[in-house]
């Protein structure tokens, strides 16, 4: 491929950027704060896909890009590279999560019970159109229980293992600093499981849903049921220079286990992400459940779904087609015109001789 340097677009480019930003107007701390507080689930989605947890920075990225999610995620991933990595925290353990929501669709009587937490799952979806004519929508406060829920909830899979329904995994004793990291090393196939789960944790929600949905509809080998879904907060356990471990604060995490019957036992798929994003976790766990032995090129094959749910790369590749391809396309046009000219220059078919 040949490249040709061109110029003449600088003014247009500058004005185009101004035109884009003019629509958003001035961005100030009040706007960033309003986005952060009014749209927590959007903030969570962006933080998860950016693989960077900070509500203020995520809200700023959304303000600056006018809510163009791929641009916001790109901005955050780029900004992330300006920050040093100070530590790797201790791994989050499911049974230590400060749990806001924990349900199972597979088993009714799970230890700890079913806690719906914050959800619209069973609500009518009715647009509050009165807001537009001046009647504010004021949410009805929760009638809090007299006694608190337990802060932590037991694992559904551990209970299933006690009933000989699943085999519990051996604990992974990898030191935190030695856990494979796709931000530091390339993903090679077959992928390390740590790479697969990290990729899914930062995957594009829409892409993950599309491929997970394909598996759910029958283009996968196993039909998922949610074994356990959690929305929770995890303590970020870091180290003092003297070696004391302590929590530097809590971050929102979500995780899903999906289950399918496999012979005498149940098989599990798993996914988790920063922020609260149930659709992504269930979809990603479905892909995990279906990936073993999946046909090459199918939606549930690991290489296929990891490459095609990486939002920054896929959106970047998509929008690069807007950039000038004049040389490539001119070359094709020249070849087509040349072929046409040669065809026209050939003599007309002659009548066969008598």
């Amino acid at each position: 491929m040949a490249y040709v340097a061109t110029r003449g677009g600088a003014r247009a480019i500058e004005q185009a950027e101004r035109l884009f930003r003019a629509e958003m107007g001035e961005i100030d701390p009040a706007r960033v704060n309003e986005i952060r507080t009014a749209m927590p689930y959007l903030i969570d989605r962006v933080m998860g896909e950016a693989s960077l947890y900070d509500e203020d920075i995520a809200a700023l990225a959304l303000a600056q890009t006018g809510g163009e999610l791929y641009e916001a995620v790109l901005l955050l991933r780029a900004w992330r590279t300006t920050q040093p990595r100070l530590q790797v925290a201790q791994p989050v353990q499911q049974n230590a999560l400060f749990t806001h929501r924990r349900i199972s669709a597979a088993f009714k009587d799970i230890p700890g019970g079913q806690l719906l937490g914050p959800t619209l799952d069973y609500s009518h979806r009715i647009l509050a159109s009165d807001v537009l004519t001046g009647t504010p929508f004021v949410p009805v406060p929760v009638d809090a229980a007299a006694q608190p829920a337990p802060a932590t909830q037991p694992s559904v899979a551990a209970w299933q293992a006690a009933n000989d329904l699943v085999d519990l995994p051996e604990p992974d004793l990898t030191r935190p600093d030695d856990i494979p990291d796709i931000t530091r090393e390339p993903v090679l196939f077959p992928s390390k499981r740590a790479h697969t789960l990290q990729s899914l944790a930062r995957a594009d929600t829409g892409g993950t849903l599309a491929l997970g949905y394909a598996a759910m509809r029958g283009y996968g080998k196993a039909h998922p049921t949610v074994n356990e879904l959690r929305l929770a907060e995890a303590e970020v356990m870091v180290k003092h220079p003297k070696g004391t471990e302590f929590s530097a604060g809590r971050v929102k995490v979500s995780q899903a286990e999906v289950v399918s019957k496999s012979g005498e036992k149940l098989s599990l798929g798993f996914a988790a992400t920063l922020g609260w994003n149930e659709v992504k976790c269930i979809s990603a766990a479905t892909l995990d459940l279906n990936s073993k032995g999946a046909a090459k090129g199918s939606a549930t094959e690991e290489e296929f779904f990891l490459y095609h749910t990486e939002g920054v790369e896929s959106s970047g590749f998509c929008i690069h087609f807007k950039l000038p391809h004049y040389v490539t396309f001119q070359s094709s046009l020249d070849a087509m015109r040349d072929a046409n000219a040669k065809r026209q220059a050939q003599p007309q078919d002659q009548e066969p001789a008598e």
Partner: protein, 144 residues
């Protein structure tokens, strides 16, 4: 062994400070500065902490993503103070490090403990209020 090691576990001191509201922590820590004398600021910066998680299906440890934190590291002779908190509030991280340092040196220990106790109570009340709202969403399932 310094005073706070007897009364408060160091991990709890740091955890409470990391969660303390900046508008309470900063003014309290400012009062400690004149008592601490010359300080060396080893670090005052923002950075990232990678957060791993353990997969419950196969047990694999993997990275969820990175958390933006503020870090402050102080020295005062042989003593150290350290702060690390979620978010990008460098002043709050420095305030945390000042309290940690004061406890390590043995300055204003009673005041620090009183501050920590108040904060710990606040945090427990916040958690209880949250968990009471969560408990309200428990399903009392009946089958017919």
């Amino acid at each position: 062994m310094s005073q706070h090691h007897r009364d408060w576990a160091h991990s709890e001191v740091l955890g409470v400070l990391a969660r303390s509201a900046p508008d309470a922590l900063k003014p309290f820590a400012e009062e400690l500065v004149p008592q601490l004398g010359d300080l060396e600021v080893v670090n005052s910066r923002t950075g990232l902490v990678m957060l791993p998680m353990r997969d419950t299906a196969q047990g694999t440890a993997f990275h969820l993503g990175e958390v933006l934190v503020s870090e402050a590291h102080l020295r005062c002779g042989p003593h150290e103070g350290y702060g690390m908190r979620k978010g990008r509030d460098l002043e709050a991280a420095m305030a945390m490090a000042l309290v940690d340092l004061a406890l390590d040196v043995g300055i204003a220990v009673a005041d620090c403990h009183a501050f920590l106790a108040t904060q710990r109570t606040d945090h427990a009340e916040q958690d209880r209020a949250t968990l009471c709202r969560i408990e309200a969403t428990r399903v009392d399932m009946e089958t017919f």
